[in-house]
Amino acid sequence: MTLDKKIVKNIAFLARIKVPDDSLDQISEELSDIIGWVEQLDEVVTDGVNPMTSVTELTWPRRKDLVNDGDCPEDILFNSTEPNWISDDPSKGGFFTVPKVVE
């Protein structure tokens, strides 16, 4: 399976990674090589084999329904990328911001 420029452009958008047009050829070549290489798995007979999602054979750990976290807007907004809006009293919270979204 070769990944042509169209596919590369599409997955690059799905992954929200800007890829300069002049590098599309090189990238589609690299990715095609890797995909071509992993396709050797087709040799393996896997009929009736269960897919392995986790190596741990534990049962799911459970949390009680207790409020013991959050209430730390200073920490949450501490690394927030400017520009943002934070109330004069940080303990009152504030917002992250992004370029205006028009839906």
Binding site: M52, T53, S80
Partner: protein, 494 residues
Amino acid sequence: MTSLNDLTIAAAAKGLKDGKFTSEELVVAHIDVLDEKRSLNAFITETPEIAIARAKESDIRRRSGEKLGLMDGIPIAIKDLFCTENVLTTAGSHILDGFIPTYESTVTTNLRNAGAVMLGKTNLDEFAMGSANMTSYYGPVKNPWIAQSGAKKGKHLVPGGSSGGSASAVAARIVPGALGTDTGGSIRQPASFTGIVGMKPTYGRCSRWGIVAFSSSLDQAGPLTRTVEDAAIMLGAMSGHDIKDSTSVPFDVPNFTSSLLEGVEGLKIGIPKEYSMEGMPSEIEAIWSKGRSWLEDQGAECIEVSLPHTKYALPTYYIIAPAEASSNLARYDGVRYGLRVNGETLDDMFESTRGEGFGEEVRRRILIGTYVLSAGYYDAYYIKAQKVRTLIANDFKKVFEKVDLLLTPTAPSAAFSIGEKMDDPVAMYLNDIFTVPASLAGLPAISIPSGLDGDGLPLGLHLIAKPFDELSLFRTAKILELAAEFDTKPRIAT
């Protein structure tokens, strides 16, 4: 007496206990080496002030007879993939520019509680994606070893990766021990390249909470040290159940040093035939069979075994790890922390931030991962890989009915020179051919420096054990260490 920075963790601990020196003296001695060896580029962030402050605290604890931890007053380095409170954490990536966590990872918290003293955050492949430490936004790390002869003579060598900074720092004696993470070999392969011990515990033994995630079903923290005993000590200080990580196991932490002197009498060691690949340097074959006889000399029984799906481990890994990574790295979007490249629209901002923030290899793996999960390809690639992963895990289950451990080489080659294999991703991926299978099966494994190749570069041997049988791993590794009599001091440190 040897200078303080040559001491192992065990020796330093004894010196501190016997009052031969203070933690502050010990730490200052290492800080001096840190300055000397800065050209290795092993560290992204140095924290000497923190180190000295914590060393002083340790000395006070000791003087006032307080209860001391397993590593009280011992300096260590921490791979910059672990979130550390109030200390820049980068994952070797531009996209985490200026990120200062307000929290401390569970493993580094455990080490702090054990009294260990952080000297700094070590360089690594960006988001731990690499096998040469060439993909870091903060530049390549140099291997303190250089070739005595051959084509690589006179060139700077890679330390391996992704925990290259940690490996280099330990080999160059900037610290006696360092924290790494291993997803497909990122502790064991650099340990082999730099002539030190690198250990990956069973998946679930160490908490992943606070470790920047690469591939959640594979990532494990582990120690890089200069001796097997030190690895056992450090793992003991790191491990433990963590309710904040659903995949951390609720098992008690054994005393990992307890088995070190038990020897290998009566142990059955499997030699998987699929691990001898054509085109593998004869020196690797040689060290492998040496290891085998060393164990037999001590009364272990070596048996040839078969792990039929070995050759499919690497392609399986290069579907599963990128798939998980493509999702794990989606949170780096410029909204809440790290790099933000503004754009007209929301998507512009996302695409520009991530386009500029991620390096080539990370971008490559995110795109591969996105592709193998995308509609129409999910079954053909991702599900297929997960099924093969099951077969690989079953291979190990079967052989472990016959043997206690497996012995293999750690890597198919010694350290190569900086710049090699950069143009060929797949060739680079082949570095992990011997370490990836154990990762896919979540098994504990260790690399022990076992000899030098013709150019005078270190080679490692690799042991794999049953789940949660780190004790057998350490006792067997100890035998190899004793037999190899490896002088872990780099011949010529830059």
